[in-house]
């Protein structure tokens, strides 16, 4: 789609700007730094304006912007960090499923324990996840994207979205279990 110059600004203001808060929150939860988040949002909006012709009015602007933001994040911040580019999901999964990990966890995570946890504890557990796992939980639970939208934002098949989400939640459960244990929550059934 090719927009006239004045239409570009109209589309930008009407379709893109309303998502600035959601974009900032996503950026902050990826970078965990306020200044980095601001830079990332600014860069995303500049790119969105530059590539506005590839946006079709009436389609999902929020998902389109999230995709640009996620790609910018990968380009800028992954390069800087020492983290490997890709998590070996299989390895992480088998690690967390192994008996040697589970035998240290004496208390099973229970619904009432989760309900006792406060915001900071949930936030810390989420932030402690590797960014790929954190991202799927943010997109699904906090932003309410469908699997299909997430697949587009992340450039991965829907099946991968679902399995990554499943693994992310298992990892989060493990973190919450460790948290609950360290805070001294005990299974009250006994």
């Amino acid at each position: 789609m090719s927009y006239e110059s004045k239409d570009k600004q109209r589309v930008f203001n009407q379709e893109f700007m309303p998502h600035i808060d959601a974009m900032y929150n996503f950026a902050y939860r990826l970078t965990l730094d306020e200044d980095d988040a601001k830079d990332l949002v600014q860069e995303t909006f500049m790119k969105a304006f530059r590539f506005i012709n590839s946006f079709e009015t009436g389609t999902n602007a929020k998902a389109w912007l999230f995709r640009i933001l996620k790609n910018s994040f990968i380009n800028n911040y992954r390069k800087k960090s020492k983290q490997p580019n890709k998590v070996d999901y299989q390895e992480v999964e088998s690690f967390y499923n192994s008996d040697s990990v589970n035998e240290n966890i004496t208390t099973d995570l229970r619904v009432e324990t989760v309900q006792h946890l406060i915001g900071d504890e949930i936030t810390n557990a989420l932030n402690a996840l590797d960014v790929d796992f954190r991202t799927v939980i943010i997109l699904c639970d906090l932003e309410g994207f469908t699997y299909e939208e997430m697949a587009k934002i992340l450039d991965i098949p829907i099946g991968t979205v679902r399995s990554r989400l499943h693994r992310a939640r298992n990892l989060l459960k493990e973190k919450l279990k460790l948290y609950a244990n360290s805070l001294g929550y005990k299974d009250k059934r006994k």
């Binding site: 110059s5 570009k8 600004q9 930008f12 203001n13 700007m17 600035i20 808060d21 959601a22 974009m23 900032y24 929150n25 902050y28 306020e34 601001k38 949002v41 600014q42 909006f45 500049m46 304006f49 530059r50 995570l109 229970r110 619904v111 989760v114 309900q115 946890l117 406060i118 915001g119 949930i122 936030t123 989420l126 939980i137 699904c140 639970d141 906090l142 469908t146 699997y147 679902r162 989400l165 499943h166 939640r169 989060l172 459960k173 919450l176």
Partner: protein
């Protein structure tokens, strides 16, 4: 197919169904299917309640922030600047 393989496949199917329902992306038929299964299977029922409580905790506790003051203005003036250069 032996019993163990069947059990693994059954568990996997339950996990997938459970996830679809929790994420609000199950069809009515799938929701019904899970409801029926939960009445019979205690393990899945516990798993369902736990997963649901975690998802709800995330939604309730992690509140969105507003973008910092001035960010929207900075972006808009940069856009105007870029547009006027063309």
């Amino acid at each position: 197919m032996n019993d163990q393989t069947m059990e693994v496949e059954q568990n996997q199917a339950c996990t997938e169904l459970l996830q679809l329902v929790i994420d609000g992306q199950a069809t009515q038929k799938q929701q019904q299917e899970l409801k029926q299964h939960l009445e019979e299977c205690e393990n899945c029922r516990e798993e369902y309640l736990l997963s649901k409580s975690i998802t709800e905790s995330i939604k309730n506790h992690i509140k969105p922030n507003q973008s910092p003051n001035g960010l929207a203005n900075t972006i808009q003036s940069k856009i105007l600047e870029t547009a006027s250069l063309k």
